[in-house]
Symmetry: C2
Subunit: 161 residues, 2 copies
């Protein structure tokens, strides 16, 4: 069976997962956020196989998340604006993993704001009344340019959840 091309699906989650939907990818982004820029640095800090790292870095460059630049005759990988903009989702994934999949000893690290030492966590989405937003509080509606299939599914007002 042919592998589905997620980047051709309309759903923004599908298109994001065309980029992120390989389990090493978010760890490579973690390293980039931690300041790693060199192939050898990613390799050492991740314990990833070199051929897999090469493939993932090439994909992240093709999707515009990382930019491959020459620094002192060697390649370096820098976050693009798109890559830097993934920081909030990285925080949200990190927090969820720490909350639900830590051992009894808790998560191994704490992320803090450098300037203040304040612990950094992803902010909670809130309803207009300030209480946490739950899945059943939202509904999806077609955007103005939505194709027929999207209108057929979401055209009538539907409450989710």
């Amino acid at each position: 069976m042919q592998r589905t091309d997620f980047s051709r699906m309309l759903c923004p989650v599908a298109r994001a997962m065309a980029v992120l939907g390989e389990r090493w990818t978010l760890l490579i982004l973690r390293e980039a956020f931690l300041g790693t820029t060199r192939f050898e640095g990613f390799l050492r800090n991740l314990g990833i196989a070199p051929n897999i790292l090469t493939a993932r870095l090439n994909e992240l460059a093709a999707f515009g998340v990382l930019e491959r630049v020459r620094v002192g005759g060697r390649h370096a990988y820098h976050l693009t604006e798109c890559g830097r903009d993934a920081f909030p989702l990285y925080l949200a994934v990190r927090d969820w993993g720490a909350r639900w999949y830590s051992g009894p000893e808790g998560p191994p690290t704490v992320m803090v704001e450098g300037a203040t030492g304040r612990p950094v966590t992803a902010p909670v989405p809130r309803r207009a009344d300030g209480t946490p937003l739950r899945p059943e509080d939202v509904r999806v509606t077609p955007a103005p340019g939505a194709p027929h299939a999207v209108r057929a599914r979401f055209g009538a007002e539907r409450t989710l959840g």
Copy 2:
């Protein structure tokens, strides 16, 4: 080469990606947030191969994200508290995909708060001074119970970015 077991890594992002790090998984969660509970519903709305859907649903149940229950003699898949708690990260992934990977016509749907019609987006992480938090604003420090390898890497104060 043996496949690395992400659930045995210490990093909370790695443990989250042990659950989420397959590109169909977040789309299955999307469907669950949209109210889909039946195998046939996931199958129809996702266009996923049945054998892959079975494998992904089993994994999500094993990781405690979905709960398989019997409703009227048939299986249904309900979000657990852990699964519902993934809603903020789903929003963050959705927003990022919509911002960076939409076509010229924009994203096909808009998510709104049912009660108010207000567009729903993932909130922006902010610094103590209220400005958006950037990757270089944070640093990672070892938690009290951190093992040696984590202390060796993050023990000295390091600014990221």
